[in-house]
């Protein structure tokens, strides 16, 4: 019984204690939950507002990123115009008085544009605008006089500026970038820092959204028209015709029966090359060649080639590769190339002739750099030596015997 009663008493006591604690916790949790529920709309509102603000900041950052290149382009254009028509007759110290960016963007963009402008002015002394530092010009000055106490920037109060050893008659450059609809507008004005503060120069330049930035080099600034002319010149290079001078070497494969190959023949070639299209995707040449090695051989040749650019456009900075297909007619004479001689021919004195005249069809790759220097490797089939026991082949894909392997270096004039 006691055990029973104990068994009842103990759980009741425990239950009571636990129940009290539980109800305390539940009451507090409920109270906190109620408070949280009550606070939820406010928190949600704050979160939504913060999210909206963050989204707006992100949007501003993206816009500023897009505007930066356009802003650089406008500043380039401004300095280019100064180069063409300087605002001063002689080099004149100018202080960057103010640079403002479109409303809605941060000052980070202003710092970037200011640095870009400084670099441009240093690289373009012919603009006659010399950057000058003047800490007191942009500092706030407090000046007391008969008219009262005036608090202003030094630039805005030249009288006060003079008293603190200001620039004295220098000029202040004011720049403003504004986003107006689909246009980015740069306004510039130069003010003479005398008490009258006359504006001596102003310029407004606008660029539409989506206009590609010229990405001009800070040295040797050019207009869009000049840049286009230079680009066309680079594309056309020196016109469609060139005179190539080539040093070529042709090596020959040894026939199994003969044991050793003819000596390699070194050719000096020159002729005429023409680009068949404006973009030089197709070109053709015809050259005459001469080969001579004392007591070894002498030869003459005529060769013609067609070449097709591998790729869509020629590179203005890197090498281009062309697929080359050509034909050559060669005649060589000499003991070093006796295997190439025509069979059954003899000289006037009755000795066996070492002169050989034969044609070759070659296929190769040419690497050309800026239409000035080139290097070519090719494989050549000489039909007269198919199944020959005097000349072998290096490779014979699809049954075509390539008897000769050649390499050449060319210089174009």
């Amino acid at each position: 019984m006691s055990h029973r009663s104990m068994s009842y008493v103990m759980p009741d006591a425990i239950n009571g204690a636990i129940g009290g604690a539980m109800s305390y916790v539940i009451r507090h949790v409920a109270a906190v939950a109620c408070l949280m529920l009550l606070a939820l709309p406010v928190a949600r509102a704050q979160t939504a507002e913060q999210a909206q603000r963050a989204e707006l900041e992100e949007l501003r950052r993206v816009v500023a990123g897009e505007v930066q290149l356009a802003a650089y382009d406008l500043v380039d254009e401004l300095v280019y115009r100064w180069n063409q028509s300087p605002p001063f007759g002689e080099p004149t110290p100018v202080i960057i008085a103010d640079l403002t960016v479109p409303v809605g963007m941060g000052t980070g963009l202003a710092a970037l544009v200011e640095n870009h402008l400084a670099k441009l002015l240093i690289d373009n002394p012919q603009s006659n605008v010399q950057l000058s530092a003047c800490p007191s010009c942009t500092a706030m000055l407090v000046h007391s006089g008969r008219e009262g106490t005036v608090v202003s920037r030094g630039l805005d109060n030249p009288k006060a500026l003079d008293k603190v050893g200001g620039p004295g008659g220098r000029h202040g450059l004011y720049l403003d970038l504004a986003a107006e609809g689909a246009w980015l507008v740069l306004r510039a004005r130069i003010t003479k820092l005398t008490p009258d503060l006359p504006i001596v120069y102003s310029q407004t330049i606008a660029s539409p959204v989506g206009a590609p930035s010229l990405l001009r080099s800070s040295q040797g600034l050019k207009s869009a028209a000049e840049a286009r002319d230079e680009y066309l010149d680079a594309l056309e290079d020196r016109g469609p015709y060139t005179i190539p001078v080539k040093f070529a070497v042709r090596t020959y494969a040894a026939a199994d029966e003969f044991g050793f190959p003819p000596a390699p023949v070194i050719w000096l070639q020159t002729g005429f090359e023409a680009a068949l299209t404006q973009a030089r995707r197709w070109k053709a040449d015809i050259v005459l060649g001469y080969a001579w090695l004392p007591d070894a051989y002498q030869g003459f040749m005529i060769q013609s080639r067609m070449a097709r650019l591998l790729g869509q456009t020629r590179s203005l900075t890197g090498p281009d590769v062309y697929l080359v297909l050509g034909a050559a007619l060669m005649t060589v004479d000499g003991v070093a190339v006796a295997q190439l001689a025509d069979l059954g021919q003899s000289n006037n004195d009755g000795t066996v002739s070492t002169r050989g005249t034969f044609a070759g069809l070659h296929l190769g790759l040419e690497m050309r750099v800026a239409n000035r220097v080139g290097a070519t490797v090719f494989l050549e089939n000489m039909p007269a030596f198919n199944d020959s026991d005097r000349i072998g082949d290096f490779v014979d894909p699809f049954g075509i015997e390539f008897h000769s392997f050649g390499a050449e270096v060319s210089f174009c004039f």
Binding site: G181, R189, T204
Partner: protein
């Protein structure tokens, strides 16, 4: 029946033209998909067919060599630099058209009779947002200079007491009073004139222009 066939045949070219109209035509998918949002973020201008051909030779077809029965125009739309919502609507309205409006305002001063026009002009802008006010002032000064008017960066000043009084009265009366005080305090000399640009009604998106010379204030717009 034949009559209606004739009507259909005659109107067919016009119907095709209308369908292909990139702005109002039913086959204008880019604009019609979310038209409201898309149009709000665009800055559009109508230009002649010939100009459009010059500017976009690959995208605008050449006019027919024997002329065209229709008066064709091209509408060039560009995305606004600042997407909607980044700036306040009123600021956007003022700044979005600042080049044209500043030229117009400067034209009012440049069009004044010679003794006034030849003066040195100071420019003062009243706008609730100082950043926008600075932009308007910059644009107006440049526009004045481009129209051959002499301009200075000098700002007219007033005593603290004047500022306090002027701040309490409405702009309609404040500008003439300020003008009188500028001259009385020699802030505006005999060879100077002040061009005032103000937003007289906070709900408006048109800036008003006036000038102060010899103590007299006149509204130009």
């Amino acid at each position: 029946m034949e009559f209606w066939i004739y009507v259909l045949l005659f109107s067919l070219p016009s119907l095709v033209e209308y369908a292909r109209d990139p702005v109002a035509g039913p086959l204008a998918p880019d604009l019609m998909a979310g038209a409201g949002e898309a149009l709000r973020g665009l800055d559009c201008e109508a230009i002649s067919h010939v100009t459009a051909r010059e500017r976009y030779p690959g995208r605008v077809t050449a006019p027919p060599p024997r002329g065209d029965l229709l008066d064709r125009q091209a509408v060039v739309c560009r995305a606004r630099l600042m997407p909607p919502g980044v700036r306040r609507a009123r600021d956007e309205a003022i700044l979005g058209d600042l080049r044209r409006s500043s030229e117009e305002m400067a034209g009012l001063v440049a069009g004044l009779a010679d003794p006034l026009r030849e003066r040195t002009w100071l420019v003062e802008v009243y706008y609730p947002d100082p950043q926008v006010a600075a932009k308007v002032q910059f644009a107006t000064k440049n526009a004045l200079l481009e129209q051959g008017v002499r301009v200075t960066d000098r700002a007219p000043t007033l005593a603290a007491g004047d500022v306090e009084v002027l701040g309490r009265i409405d702009p309609q009366r404040a500008w003439p009073l300020a003008c009188t005080r500028y001259v009385a305090t020699d802030s505006l000399g005999a060879g100077d004139a002040l061009m005032g640009v103000a937003l007289r009604d906070r709900r408006a998106t048109i800036l008003n222009v006036g000038y102060c010379a010899d103590g007299d204030w006149r509204w130009l717009r």
